[in-house]
């Protein structure tokens, strides 16, 4: 085992272990916090694949944005801090069939794909991918890029509309 493999198994272990906590933990706060380690492990694996921009974006978007939003949601929707919020299981049959179908699909993709595994993966020269990604985004993939930006703009305008509360009888007194 060389250094590269040790680091890979370290990140893989973190990802799998924390992901199983997310799924199996009965305490929803533990599940939310262990998502942090899942995202971190995935980011580490991206770094090992020389996808530096993707790794940092993963941390920025998922940890800095989505996870914080999730934690706010969990923490603000409970009335007290004393009661543990539990997650239970329901609709077992339907869930099991959907999961089985998804697992079969993923397994099929896994076995049929042509994996690019290089022995010299660890020794590849570290080079940035941000320039190529930037160029690709505004040349080859400009249409999806623009569509995403329009969707984000719509979301911002919608959020501003909902926050305005002008002409709507609001329960919350204005802070001004």
């Amino acid at each position: 085992m060389n250094m590269y493999e040790i680091i890979f198994y370290f990140f893989a272990f973190i990802t799998v272990a924390s992901a199983s906590v997310v799924v199996f933990s009965r305490n929803i706060i533990y599940a939310a916090f262990s998502l942090l380690f899942t995202f971190f492990g995935v980011a580490g694996i991206y770094v090992l694949l020389n996808a530096d921009f993707l790794a940092i974006t993963q941390l920025l978007i998922y940890v800095g944005g989505i996870l914080v939003l999730l934690l706010f949601g969990v923490m603000l929707t409970t009335n007290t801090v004393n009661i543990d919020i539990k997650s239970g299981s329901m609709n077992v049959l339907a869930a099991a069939s959907v999961v089985a179908a998804l697992a079969g699909l993923l397994g099929g993709v896994f076995w049929t794909s042509d994996w690019f595994v290089s022995k010299q993966m660890g020794e590849l020269p570290a080079q940035t991918t941000s320039k190529e990604i930037g160029t690709a985004l505004i040349t080859t993939h400009v249409l999806p890029f623009e569509i995403a930006s329009v969707i984000l703009l719509v979301a911002i305008v919608g959020a501003a509309m909902m926050a305005r509360r002008e002409g709507i009888k609001s329960q919350i007194p204005s802070s001004k």
Binding site: F33, V63, G64, G65, V68, L71, F72, V81, T128, S130
Partner: protein, 347 residues
């Protein structure tokens, strides 16, 4: 002897040793800054502060540290033990990880990656999760509100802060912090705050926008380290002490250390972006690997001083004023600056 040298030459050992250099710096810096902050605060308020331990109380921080080390480490009975213990380390790791891309001198940078400043923004998001964890695990309403306020404040001030960074990245055309610094080399007239190392017309056009971006980043960085006038998360009269109310002993000390490390970090980012990083203000005079480390720390410490100065001068903002400044003042100005910089750099 030869065995020791061979051991030190192992790549893994060298990596660990190099990674420890910023830690040594942070520990020494924290001791100095605790003394510095107390003294500056006292003199601003016409007091003397520590005078008993050593000459003008210079060994007081060491005495404070020894006291903290001996203190009982209390974990409240109803606290979530696991998360309670994990939280301070997570906060410190988030801050310490950011030091990896900090160009301390022309000869030393932890990791000279091309996405340096982007990485810094991402690593600081770990801190937010750590604070929320501390607030939740303490099982205390004050801690909880402190953590929520802190997280909300950091997340909303990240927007003008990142927009200001984006403006600077557009000027330099790189996110590598070492390259950014090198592009400002050659004396005070090449620093970005004066317009950078560009032809005269472009320099004059850039100057006002750079100054606005500097102010925007300075304000949002102060909000990000939770210091006055943005210290609502630890408003003593309302929240006791905020997210670290229940922490004592070494765990409290780690929060404290992370806070001071974060203070230097944001000051250092300001220095790298606008004030030439480790470059000497006199061109090639007093430049070199060691001198550049000296300039970097000196410039960083002067911004730490600015933060301390403002902390003991200004009153605290209200929460609606806080959001007003972020969303209605800093963000539109930052967006305007980005558009203007885009035009200037193209023409």
């Amino acid at each position: 002897m030869e065995n020791i040298l061979a051991f030190l030459n192992e790549p893994a050992v060298t990596m660990v040793l190099l990674a420890l250099i910023p830690l040594v710096f942070i520990l020494v810096y924290a001791l100095v800054t605790i003394y510095f902050e107390m003294k500056v605060a006292a003199h601003i308020q016409n007091r003397l502060a520590y005078m008993e331990t050593g000459w003008h109380g210079v060994i007081q921080p060491i005495a404070d540290m020894l006291k903290l080390l001996q203190k009982e480490d209390i974990i409240p009975t109803d606290a979530d033990k696991f998360l309670f213990i994990l939280a301070p380390y997570l906060v410190f790791i988030g801050t310490y990880a950011s030091f990896a891309v900090m160009p301390f001198s022309s000869g030393f940078i932890g990791s000279n990656i091309d996405l340096g400043i982007f990485y810094l923004v991402a690593a600081s998001s770990l801190v937010v999760v750590g604070l929320l964890m501390a607030g939740w695990a303490s099982n205390n309403k004050w801690s909880m509100f402190g953590a929520l306020r802190s997280a909300a404040q950091i997340v909303s001030y990240e927007i003008p802060g990142v927009l200001a960074i984006l403006g600077v990245v557009m000027v330099f055309g790189t996110m590598n912090m070492q390259t950014m610094t090198q592009m400002q080399d050659g004396g005070i007239q090449n620093w970005l705050i004066i317009g950078g190392n560009f032809p005269l017309g472009q320099k004059l056009a850039l100057f006002p926008f750079m100054f606005i971006l500097f102010i925007i980043y300075l304000l949002s960085s102060m909000a990000e380290v939770n210091r006055t006038p943005f210290d609502l998360p630890e408003a003593e009269s309302e929240l006791v002490q905020g997210y670290n109310t229940e922490y004592s002993g070494m765990k409290f000390a780690i929060f404290y250390l992370a806070e001071y490390a974060n203070l230097f970090l944001v000051s250092a980012i300001v220095v790298v972006m606008f004030f030439g990083g480790w470059t000497s203000p006199f061109g090639s005079f007093m430049s070199g690997t060691v001198w550049s480390a000296f300039w970097f720390v000196l410039k960083g410490m002067s911004f730490v001083f600015l933060n301390i100065w403002l902390r003991w001068t200004l009153p605290r903002l209200r929460v609606d004023q806080l959001m007003y400044v972020s969303w209605k003042v800093l963000t539109p100005f930052a967006l305007f600056c980005i558009i203007a910089i885009g035009f200037i750099m193209v023409i």
